[in-house]
């Protein structure tokens, strides 16, 4: 009895030591491991901006004229808020220390200290700024400051043009850019990009202040929205077919063609996964494409492979035939690209029409 009790006590003491040890190691590991900017950049930024910031889907962060014209606060807020609807996501889950580490890593490419802009708001003539914007800025930045179209050098940009004109009316940009930073960019431009120095173009300092005030007037006073929140909850588009599986497949082929899409192939869901001859024939996929539509969508966002190729799945379970597609509107929020939203809406209409045609 005593031996048993002693061993129980020893076991409990050892368990407590183990507990304390694990907690101590966990806490100390977290406390002592300062975030590594290079690692965070590699994990979160390099895929779009390039390993050394030379750009790609994202802007070239290591461009000297870019780093000379943005302060660290701009970089921090850009990481934090992103650019709602303009691909650059908001990294809200990163800690302040992690964001600072990424900023330090990016700043390290310039070898120079960050510029220091005045925090004072610029007071200019908004109406005059609007006139100047229309004549000097709108050709690149859009009439309403909505920015250039498309992203990604792969499909939509020439490789010798590393910058798409930023959306100056974007809530993320307006939250990140100070008046002083915008004024500096207008004064000096950004070498090796289409952004020119407007002092050299003949504008006065007052003209530039008027432009800054006009750009600032795009702000509506609200925080940049979180576009990742799901506003569409239907994950699929689906319809029950009154026909047999084979008849439904034939109906779908006709419906796809009538929507100006080309049928690529028909096979089972398990094709290529299951041993040939053992595939479940009650799950059939029709793959189809409209190459013109595809090409336009790729110029808007090269990441859309997740939607490709267009497909409808037909399944038969317990005598019931169902036709199903993904819901592009559900997926579109993942991409943070308002231009892509337009294509997703159109594709939602196409899928719905195909399902209705085939199951009527």
């Amino acid at each position: 009895m005593d031996v048993h009790m002693n061993s129980t006590i020893v076991y409990r003491v050892n368990s407590m030591r183990l507990l304390v040890g694990i907690i101590f190691l966990s806490v100390s590991a977290l406390a002592t491991s300062a975030p590594r900017g290079d690692e965070l950049y590699a994990n979160h930024c390099a895929a779009c901006h390039g390993d050394t910031g030379t750009g790609g889907v994202g802007v070239p962060l290591s461009l000297p004229s870019f780093l000379e014209s943005v302060d660290d606060d701009f970089l921090r807020k850009t990481i934090r808020y992103g650019r709602p609807g303009r691909v650059m996501p908001a990294f809200r889950a990163l800690s302040d220390a992690q964001v600072n580490a990424v900023v330090s890593h990016i700043r390290g490419w310039s070898g120079k200290p960050a510029p220091d802009f005045s925090g004072k708001p610029v007071r200019g003539d908004i109406e005059h700024g609007e006139q100047l914007f229309a004549s000097h800025c709108a050709v690149c930045h859009g009439a309403g400051g909505e920015g250039g179209k498309g992203t990604g050098v792969t499909f939509s940009r020439k490789r010798n043009l590393p910058i798409i004109a930023p959306a100056l009316n974007n809530a993320g940009f307006l939250a990140a850019a100070s008046d002083g930073m915008i004024r500096h960019t207008l004064h000096f431009g950004r070498k090796n990009t289409p952004m020119r120095s407007f002092l050299e173009e003949g504008l006065s300092e007052q003209d530039i202040d008027d432009l800054v005030s006009y750009v600032r007037s795009f702000a509506n006073g609200e925080a940049p929205p979180d576009r990742t929140a799901a506003t569409v909850t239907e994950t699929i588009i689906t319809a029950e077919s009154p026909y047999s599986l084979e008849e439904t497949v034939e109906n779908l082929k006709g419906a796809i063609v009538s929507q100006n899409f080309i049928l690529i192939r028909t096979d089972t869901l398990e094709h290529g996964l299951a041993t040939e001859g053992e595939e479940d024939s009650s799950e059939v996929i029709l793959h189809f494409c409209n190459f013109s539509f595809l090409f336009e969508a790729l110029t808007v966002d090269p990441r859309i492979g997740m939607f490709l190729p267009c497909r409808v799945t037909v399944t038969e379970r317990d005598g019931k035939v169902m036709v199903t597609t993904i819901n592009p509107l559900y997926l579109s929020r993942l991409f943070n690209n308002s231009e892509l939203d337009v294509f997703c809406k159109e594709m939602h209409g196409v899928y719905t029409a195909i399902l209705e045609d085939a199951t009527l």
């Binding site: 966990s26 790609g56 889907v57 889950a93 994950t235 699929i236 859309i304 492979g305 997740m306």
Partner: protein, 152 residues
């Protein structure tokens, strides 16, 4: 003792939670390899992780055939048959999203890989499926992407 261990698990989970919730819904990586080599590295890593490549959709071939100029762009479908069967059986709404796929496309001399974080599938599947499978998928996908990223 069980209560203490449960408390310990919760504490450690809480300490590491910020790293877990950092997970983005689109997973991307860049390879310094040119497209053909990156594609090879991808397919090898998929196989090494126990998945079968069921199809490679050659998006660029289709576009080029229709007269559009494009870089290399493929979509790689991969999965494990027993997992796909289990998921389509328990959560038919997932059928339209399966098998999982990875987009791989050239960007100049380098290559970019993109996929949906499988945790998105967990949202679609709802309570019908044990979400641990999507955690495994995410872990495997990140490992596969890391393989391609590190390949030289």
């Amino acid at each position: 003792m069980k209560k203490r261990l449960a408390s310990l698990f919760l504490l450690v989970s809480w300490l590491y939670l910020p790293q877990l919730v950092c997970a983005e819904e689109i997973i991307m990586t860049r390879s310094v390899l040119a497209f053909p080599e990156a594609m090879l590295a991808l397919q090898e890593s998929i196989g090494a992780h126990g998945y079968t490549v069921s199809r490679v959709q050659r998006i660029d071939i289709g576009l080029t055939g229709m007269g559009y100029k494009t870089d290399k762009y493929r979509v790689v479908f991969a999965g494990k048959i027993e997992e796909i069967r289990e998921l389509t059986d328990k959560a038919p709404q997932l059928t339209a999203y399966l098998p999982p796929k990875i987009s791989i496309f050239a960007e100049g001399e380098q290559t970019i890989l993109v996929t949906i974080n499988p945790q998105v599938y967990a949202d679609i599947a709802g309570d019908a499926v044990d979400p641990i499978i999507f955690t495994h998928w995410e872990s495997d996908l990140r490992s596969i992407f890391s393989d391609v990223n590190m390949a030289r």
